[in-house]
Symmetry: C2
Subunit: 313 residues, 2 copies
């Protein structure tokens, strides 16, 4: 029995040390060490290498560091074992912090007032109250639901869209492709927190942007993407931000990361760029969560927060 920490491209050592302290005697190995592969029962993984799972004949579960499991699910040699998703109050808090900050600053017309400030222009335009603005949240998992609830508490009208119908107090929910146009038409500020799947890839495209409600938010509709870069067609985003289809955007994730210097997004005054920092998996919380899960599972308890491979998240 053993746990393997497999985080190519990241510094594995702090995770390994924390897991060793937390698991107190249960063997923990770092990928790259001399790993007794046939003894590995659990892999703690992020963006696994092609040969990540080779020789893991005793594998019982994969623990995913990130909330998004798209990089795992597209792995060509993914073993047929349960995948446990990381659910973390701090990560949820940070994602909602990001979403609330972006939605509220756009609601308060930041790109208009920053342009006026650069020109030293004093022109009063009162933003409508939040109660007159509708925010549409795509993706109603743990992160989407928390953001939607908080937006509602601030007074916004909140719409939610997801693959299967969800019920959240105070949120008008839409489900499936057939309801997508209605959802967009009722939305001034669109927030993407979807999982990345074949169906959701490229969902932030020109047709989507053109489907958003116009006339309520001065300056035009707004898009906030805090999920995955491959949700967005960046050429469409650039065009929409230039031609007024969108008034502004906040983008934390990109088709290629780090965002290349030559990307036209950098220079757009109405595009607010952050370097994939909306939310991060906290080491201490992650280790506590998966250590507890591992010990409980070794004692015979069922795994929780499992990924549904068919859905893709």
């Amino acid at each position: 029995m053993a746990l393997l920490v497999h985080l190519p491209g990241l510094d594995q050592s702090p995770w390994v040390e924390r897991f060793r302290r937390a698991l107190d005697g249960y063997p923990v190995y770092a990928e790259g060490d001399a790993v007794p592969r046939s003894e590995i029962r659990y892999v703690f993984a992020w963006k696994p290498a092609p040969d990540a799972f080779e020789g893991l004949d005793s594998l019982r579960a994969i623990f995913s560091l990130g909330a998004g499991v798209d990089a795992l699910l597209t792995h060509p040699n993914l073993p047929d074992v349960p995948i446990v998703r990381f659910v973390d109050a701090d990560m949820t808090q940070s994602m909602s912090d990001y979403v609330i900050a972006q939605v509220t600053m756009h609601h308060r017309l930041i790109s208009r007032y920053q342009a006026h400030q650069r020109a030293k222009v004093w022109t009063q335009l009162y933003p409508p109250p939040a109660t007159a603005i509708a925010v549409g949240v795509m993706g109603l998992g743990v992160l989407g639901e928390d953001a939607a609830r908080k937006l509602g508490m601030l007074g916004f009208t909140v719409n939610g869209w997801s693959r299967s119908r969800k019920s959240i107090d105070g949120v008008e929910t839409f489900a499936g492709a057939e309801a997508f146009a209605d959802f967009l038409a009722a939305t001034d500020i669109l927030v993407n927190l979807l999982p990345l799947t074949e169906e959701t890839q490229g969902i932030l495209n020109m047709a989507t942007f053109k489907g958003l409600r116009r006339g309520k938010l001065p300056g035009g509709p707004v898009v906030v993407n805090a999920a995955r870069g491959r949700h967005q067609i960046e050429a469409d985003l650039v065009e929409a931000l230039k031609d007024g289809t969108l008034g502004a955007a906040s983008v934390d994730v990109f088709e290629v990361e780090p965002l290349p210097k030559q990307s036209p997004l950098w220079a757009l005054d109405n595009c607010y760029i952050t370097p994939h920092i909306a939310a991060v998996s906290n080491e201490a919380n992650g280790v506590r969560y998966f250590s507890d899960m591992l010990r409980a599972h070794e004692r015979g308890a069922p795994l929780t927060n499992l990924v549904d491979r068919e859905r893709g998240y």
Copy 2:
């Protein structure tokens, strides 16, 4: 009996028309018309002219259009009648909208990430969760209390400071000059919603800025002023934003408005300027509120939401 609308510098006619419709027969006059001054029982006022109250021998109350009554209370010939403050759900909503947007965008390090974007730099720094950041709200009237409650719901630690002790669920309250240093030392983001009085004038000065907590919010403490320009010493604000005493500021009000072109504030990248648009008195709501109050008072009911002249607000 009659109501006088006295709004020098503003367009009085839409207010007069709305009051006439709402009061249905009760005489309403606009300042500048042939006003039967001795018949005026109520004045609806904003920044009254020096002779505003001359000859109003039957005056029973002054209705203040704005939430701030400093311009009224410093009037040299203010009659000794009750002053009714405008309390409006929409104005409260708008002020909290502004405060939440500014606090959350600074918490998420907007000025850092905008500087990085201009330089096309990708450097990940994860902002701490809101739960690790303390917002201090100065002024706990209707506006301050609503903002404090909403900040608390988002997860921030919330401190409140006011002249007399207030009790608000989830808010640590401080009262009076003797508690001011402790309040500042526990605060990362300072929000000013105080009334303008002799005691509060110039309260946003270098000593206050230096008293804020350092080390929690990357980039340094932040100040948000949505109350009155004369609360701030603008020379100190400029210096503090330049020398790092403050990481950033959001300023909606200024010593002189419109903010003069030569003000150095315009050019500071870490100063977010808006042209006194945080909250506005909504015409329809204002007319409904004061019409209801006038009719009730004429029927013998007491006035509510009265200004305390001794306190100054």
